[in-house]
Symmetry: C2
């Protein structure tokens, strides 16, 4: 978790904003019109929902996409906490973030299988990593299934004390046994407005390599960072990208301490 090394100038702000507004996912022309590809590429994180409820069959299909997601050796090392606006309020004493209709908390779960599988006692980090990986696959599958059904969502790891930045708090609040790790909460609803522009994404050739790892071009990285700062400023008039990262900064030491305890706890049990 990090803070930008440099503030942007007004010129960089305008240039960054222009680049964001001009950028689009790169759909190969030959594949334009494939509805699922378009759905995947045009997905956005949505933080402004109508009060229209999500029908039960639609929400069931979203959960089913999580249930049937792939996982290492099909071990399904996940649990899903399901909340309505009411049960979220009862549990946490606060409103569901962004006044969404439903929430699914995604947790890595290495606890469940212990009653039927011999544990390997000295591999807490590998087990944790596998659980985070698998649970995140399930999360993405739910997110895309929702998009496919016209339901929007955003994945939260911090807002509303909903994910790994509040792992210790959630462990206590939800009575999580050892080996269960809160990762994120997806909140779902119908988007109130047209989807926002795509946030600035690094070019493909800067995030890929063949053979050996290679470093990203520093100028491209700086340009991207200026876009990030401009985009945040434009969409959060009374805040800034730096301020958002400061929120993370304020929680990260506690989160680190809690995760250390939660992951390595297992080795002793």
């Amino acid at each position: 978790m990090q803070l930008p090394k440099h503030k942007i100038t007004p010129g960089q702000f305008l240039h960054g904003l222009w680049k964001i507004l001009a950028s689009r996912p790169q759909t190969p022309p030959s594949l334009a019109g494939n509805p699922l590809v378009e759905t995947i590429l045009n997905r956005r994180s949505v933080r402004n929902f109508t009060q229209q409820p999500i029908p039960e069959d639609v929400f069931s299909a979203i959960l089913e996409a999580g249930r049937v997601a792939p996982s290492t050796v099909n071990l399904q090392t996940w649990s899903f906490g399901i909340f309505t606006a009411e049960t979220w309020k009862t549990t946490f004493g606060s409103a569901l973030p962004f006044r969404a209709q439903k929430a699914v908390m995604i947790l890595g779960d290495t606890h469940r299988n212990r009653s039927v599988l011999e544990t390997f006692p000295h591999s807490p980090l590998v087990e944790y990593s596998v659980a985070v990986m698998n649970a995140s696959l399930a999360a993405m599958n739910m997110n895309i299934a929702a998009e496919a059904l016209g339901v929007s969502s955003v994945m939260l790891a911090e807002t509303g004390r909903s994910g790994l930045l509040d792992a210790g708090y959630l462990q206590e609040k939800l009575c999580l046994p050892g080996g269960v790790f809160p990762i994120m909460t997806i909140v779902f609803g119908y988007a109130r407005q047209a989807y926002p522009p795509m946030p600035p994404k690094l070019p493909l050739d800067q995030i890929t390599f063949t053979g050996h790892y290679h470093e990203t071009d520093p100028l491209i990285l700086q340009d991207w960072m200026a876009q990030m700062q401009a985009g945040y400023k434009a969409s959060h008039l009374f805040s800034s990208f730096d301020a958002q990262l400061q929120v993370y900064r304020s929680k990260i030491n506690q989160a680190e301490e809690d995760l250390q305890r939660m992951i390595f706890y297992k080795a002793e049990n």
Copy 2:
């Protein structure tokens, strides 16, 4: 990483097999026929590919789904290693697993942003967790985009020294700087056969909770484990679920040691 606590009987084998063959994803009847939902729910891990090449535009769209995936504060903490059968062979000296056409290695990357963002020095586990989470979201997005384009795939964390079970080996082989973590490799191709049955998935009410975490029914867990063993036996005539887990067991101590070094290395640099 774990071994089953009990061997299954021939009766459990047949019962388990029958349950696997009879199970289907639960598509709500009102949503049957939605092609996007069907694609997501009927996705399978495929390990048997034809030698038909994947057209460049199709593969580009798959990579684009990774590039535009969601990530925490849009930090895109991932890198993708892209391989053909030839470059895989050159790099690793072995054939691409399952004779696939293309491979994308998914790596968590907390290294790239360090040149433009101030690092938080004492949060290696939080940073690592965020990177694994984000990179896994990108992986699932690519996997579903491939399905949408008729391309099948399987995510590998161990087979062919392709993921986190070989983190230390891959760090050296691919010249990965500190803060870059191999997670998995997705291999892509066209499926040679009709999709296999769905591997045994736990019922939704056993993997979800509302309010507080609750334990899974032990009888349902045992039944699931019997199905896991039966399914593995049926599809791997000369192997077993236990044998597969033994492979993991043989690698896991080294992987744990390498991950510890790779994650906490950062705190000192």
